[in-house]
Assembly symmetry: C2
Homo-oligomer: 328 residues x 2
């Protein structure tokens, strides 16, 4: 028995990162090397069944590409952008995957391939990935924030992912910081995610341009009909004052969220990843300033606020870590 188990542990994990925009599949070796990686669009608006079919095709494709039979896998591990019931293997709800309600994704995949399958939140996976292989190597207590379309979070306590008894901890983006604010899709009020995310930055740019403010983005808006967070970042780097202002405002709110985390967790590190985090110091520097001004000094001195290092590979790497450690 023992030798079969050890053999199984040396087999690779097929890891999937199911996001609101992209599906990434990867074959990850037992020592954390990515030996194959593929990217697809999620096209989440087509609904759960279409996305599940696309995910299964993506899994088929990478198995064919590397000529791997499912029996040659340690396991399949899926990081998904939404609330996860780890015990039951459900995507319970998702702001980024419309109409997903208690979808039994883990069992759908394990039934099809006959392989042990794991399902975890994508921010949890990113956290595990950055902790083992990225910015958080060797750090025992850290918080990761992924700032993209929304805000996800993950928590490492004493060197281990803290998922909570239901596996649903880490919903840091859905922390109320504006008690008089608007309602969020999650049902809560004034969530951090409403004030700091790609969606909120884009909304704020549209609103201010519609009010007649001057900006190089006016031309982008006219030409494209819409403005992306990426374009706002480009404009900011070019010195556009509206773009700089919008980013500084979001960064201040991000600092408010981080101040809460510093006061509550006294972490050694806060890692910021996700698409919006590619704004780099434009986002991190004002956020650090808010933490320095507002958080308890002893906790502020203990924390480093740093960018993520692994980009979009963190999710599949972390999903693989989760599976490999769960099987030990």
């Amino acid at each position: 028995m023992r030798s079969i188990k050890n053999l199984k542990q040396e087999l690779p994990v097929l890891a999937v990162d199911l996001g609101g925009t992209k599906i990434i599949t990867a074959i990850v070796s037992a020592n954390g090397q990515i030996v194959a990686k593929e990217r697809y669009l999620t096209l989440a608006d087509e609904g759960p069944q279409a996305v599940i079919n696309r995910l299964l095709s993506a899994v088929d494709n990478i198995l064919n590409l590397k000529n791997i039979d499912p029996s040659q896998l340690n396991s399949i591990s899926i990081a998904a952008a939404g609330g996860i019931d780890v015990a039951r293997g459900l995507v319970t709800l998702s702001a980024h995957l419309p109409d997903w309600h208690n979808v039994p994704l883990r069992d759908i995949v394990s039934d099809r391939y006959g392989v042990s399958t794991f399902l975890l939140n994508d921010a949890s996976a990113t956290t595990l990935g950055e902790h083992r292989f990225g910015a958080g190597r060797g750090v025992n207590n850290l918080i990761l924030l992924t700032v993209g379309t929304g805000i996800g979070g993950g928590i490492i306590i004493d060197g281990r992912l803290y998922n909570g008894p239901s596996g649903s901890a880490g919903e840091i983006g859905h922390m109320t910081i504006d008690v008089n604010g608007p309602r969020c899709v999650c049902g809560n009020i004034g969530c951090l995610e409403l004030l700091v995310s790609g969606t909120s930055i884009e909304r704020e740019a549209r609103r201010r341009i519609a009010q007649g403010e001057m900006s190089s983005l006016v031309e982008v808006a006219g030409r494209m009909g819409d403005i992306t967070a990426e374009e706002i970042g480009v404009a900011a780097r070019g010195g556009d004052s509206l773009a700089l202002d919008i980013i500084a405002e979001a960064a201040t709110y991000l600092g408010v969220g981080m101040t809460n985390l510093v006061n509550i967790f006294n972490p050694e590190m806060i890692i910021v990843g996700g698409g919006v985090a590619e704004l780099g110091e434009l986002l991190l520097d004002p956020a650090r300033q808010v933490v320095r001004e507002r958080a308890f000094p002893v906790s502020t001195r203990a924390v480093r606020i740093v960018p993520a290092e692994l980009g979009d590979e963190a999710g599949v790497l972390g999903a693989a870590v989760f599976a490999l450690e769960s099987r030990n």
Copy 2:
């Protein structure tokens, strides 16, 4: 060596709970029995030196009372109402002990009595006490909130107190929930404590009575010149609609803070202690309702929101637990 160590472990702890209002001293046996307990007023406005002298007198008194020499103690353990630098044994700052800045209370006490001395935050101590001997017995992941003059917090993760690398975790009362709110004494903005605490309830009652609202509290205010949270509780139980309204508003804010904790930690339990918590279901019931309406359902289903069980003995019991476990 081993037998001396074991002997030491069987000795009692002299535990002190230094709050903004009261100093409690206790002799706690190695199995968690309180064999003596004394109470004094802190008179915190007299400043650090007067309070330290009073604390030392209180320690002397309980030693004399039980005819104990300091050498017969396992240790002295002090729970203090403020930010604590556990490594350096400092009270770094305190909203409830005016003018305390980096006071080396641990070393002041250990130098005087020649006994190992521990210093921790009072809410951390209360959390340890309730976890081992009170409402949280056998619960692996819980958050405790003490709602009194201010709000303190403590975190149990995987059965152990989570204090953070600097020992300053758990400042849940200083979580921004109103990003456009007023500045708190801690330096942060719109803290939970500004909206839910004895101080905030009393301030709100004074404000609304000054605006001419009808209430049985008007008479109390006229007679006493001031209104305490306790009197507001009495009026609410008597059906006074202003008092009921003020408590319901505070309870709603408490629910907002709890929703954040449920989304971030997915705890099995939130324990609510402290003087204001004596309002009982008047406070807890509307708070639970907010959590049910706003937090992620999978996490909401996992959590029980319950009153503390140990009253003001939780602090000294928890301080003793902290010392006994630190010496193991």
